[in-house]
Amino acid sequence: MSYFIEFRDVSFRYREDQPWVLKDVSFNVQSDEWLAIIGHNGSGKSTIAKLMNGLLLPQKGEILVDGVQVTEDTIWEIRKKVGMVFQNPDNQFVGTTVKDDVAFGMENHGLPRKLMVERIQTSLAAVGMNDYEAHEPHRLSGGQKQRVAIASVLAVAPQLIILDEATAMLDPKGRLEIMETIRNVQEDQDLSLLTITHDLQEVVKADRVIVMNQGSKWLEGTPRDVFSEKDKLRNIGLDTPFVTKLAAELSAAGLPIQREPLNHQELLEDLWTLHSKM
């Protein structure tokens, strides 16, 4: 098994007089995997993202990215491999055109101009924004802005993209579009993906989920495994997807739902074949 990222007993606090935000956290991200991290505000999930990118450095434990330990000396190498998309795409826009903004990350990493021109085309095409390269970024819709932000990160050719609440400011349609774009990009370019989110629909699409609670890794598994622990999740104040709750209610009402459904289609499959199983 090849791990792209390894967290080994990582602890972190922002100041010495403050409590630990992360406490002895260990986990890994495999190559080509989509890992989702969920948890309450203050559970430490965004701190994990910043530690992976070298924006913060751990006080205890170690973090390895592609076999290289994250330190002051390696952060620039790490940032080429780990790209981040934030909640507010405007924070990542500095140019007057979409093209300029996609070039920005590559410019900082000192890529040759010829390669930059090629990658502007390919990364905008990957997110379906190739017709917008001469547009002004601030005139785009929220979803389009976020797709440009993803293209900017893709252009640097990272091996892992972190989406830190990247769809939080979008409407449901915009969220769906972004998640489809991300899934397509991940499959086409063999990327690892880490999403930090409150949106449960995003979580069900991931390969694996980590639930953070009070700075510790609280639960880990596939989305189906994690959402089957409904009571545990409820106890720490986390919600489950509507379809999971509906399936629980149906089970309580005596309908034998065989598996934990993650979407309406799966529940529908269970329900319409129910009669043949009874």
């Binding site: 910043k50 990118n53 924006l55 620039w76 940032r79 080429k80 790209g83 981040m84 934030f86 507010n88 405007d90 924070n91 990542q92 826009f93 500095v94 140019g95 007057t96 300029d100 920005f104 990350g105 410019e107 900082n108 990493h109 900017s152 640097v156």
Partner: protein, 345 residues
């Protein structure tokens, strides 16, 4: 190659501004007004540097007058005490503030926002105390006398039109350089730092290095202004380089608009004009003293921060933009009609 977009507009702006600067002395009736216009040029140099630091790197400095003072005193001491040529001392007047900014930048690397403002404020006070107390070099609070004039191939720049043009030549150079910086890779990196340091770092921007660079550039600009100020006057005293001066420069930048180079220029010109107006008023009305200026600046600063936080220049530019776009479209439509008319003919 034809320059496009903002850069093309900037060159048009520079050309128009240069013409204005060239003809201004012929429009000003008294030598006092020319002196004020010269001071406006000196202030512009400091304000543009501070504008880069505040508006683009998101750092606040309350010690800019100290860098200005270091530039002024280093050239004064080197030329008057050690007989160095003012042109050679210009290099020291730029290098000394740059070196201090480099050292300060390293020690302040972990400071942000208000903490950095407080640290630069403390630095300003330290420099002011040094200028007053280090009498062996600076001649203390009474001031440093006997600063020679700048000569260029036998021509002496004395106070008046010649010095006005010298100052504004440097000011235009600083403006052009700053516009180039903000339209370059450094400018984009600085804007990203201003928007979000975390996002900027994740995009590969070495935020610490860029903040340091712009801090040094702003100190160098203040040093140039100090050099020009020292050789304009026969004497200088520490009073010109205290906290009042730093707040004045800050007011210029906030008033004009820190996110635009032209905003800093506009702020410097406006504050100089207000200062001249208050002084003129003071000569007629007894209760309007020089302290009244500070009250007025404080009031302006408060009103701008509350009602126009982006500053006057961007607000005016935003109002004018639709008109200019409309005029541009009309001109374009006129050109198309003219071409069609030619074809028909």
């Amino acid at each position: 190659m034809k320059r496009k977009g903002i850069q093309q507009m900037s060159w048009k702006g520079i050309a128009a501004f240069t013409v204005l600067i060239l003809i201004l002395p012929f429009l000003l009736s008294t030598s006092l007004m020319i002196t004020k216009a010269t001071f406006a040029g000196i202030y512009t140099i400091v304000a543009v540097g501070l504008g880069l630091l505040m508006g683009f790197a998101g750092q606040i400095s309350l010690g800019q007058a100290a860098f200005y003072g270091v530039g002024a005193y280093s050239t004064a001491i080197l030329t008057a005490t050690f007989g160095l040529s003012p042109w050679l001392s210009l290099l020291i007047a730029i290098a000394a503030p740059a070196l201090i900014a480099y050292i300060l930048g390293h020690t302040m690397a972990r400071l942000h926002g208000y903490y950095l403002a407080m640290a630069t404020l403390a630095f300003g006070i330290v420099i002011h105390v040094l200028l007053v107390e280090w009498k062996g070099f600076t001649k203390g609070a009474s001031g440093f006398y006997g600063i020679p004039k700048i000569e260029f191939f036998g021509f002496t720049f004395t106070q008046g039109i010649s010095y006005y043009y010298l100052v504004w030549a440097f000011a235009l150079l600083v403006i052009v350089l700053s516009l180039n910086i903000i339209h370059s890779r450094i400018g984009r990196a600085l804007r990203s730092i201003h928007d979000s340091e975390v996002a900027s770092s994740s995009m590969g921007v070495d935020t610490g290095r860029y903040k340091m660079q712009v801090f040094i550039i702003s100190a160098m600009f203040a040093g140039i202004a100090g050099w020009l100020f020292a050789h304009m006057s026969y004497s200088i005293s520490p009073g010109s380089f205290g906290l009042d001066g730093s707040i004045l420069f800050l007011t210029m930048v906030v008033l004009g608009g820190s996110t635009s180079v032209w905003g800093a220029v506009f702020g410097a010109l406006l504050i100089t004009a207000i200062s001249s107006f208050v002084q003129a008023l003071g000569s007629k009305i007894s209760f309007i003293t020089s302290d009244f200026e500070h009250v007025l600046y404080g009031l302006i600063l408060m009103l701008v921060v509350i009602f126009l936080p982006q500053g006057l220049f961007p607000a005016i530019a935003a109002k004018l933009k639709p008109l200019l776009e409309y005029a541009g479209r009309k001109k374009k439509a006129g050109n198309i009609t003219a071409v069609k008319g030619d074809q028909r003919a």
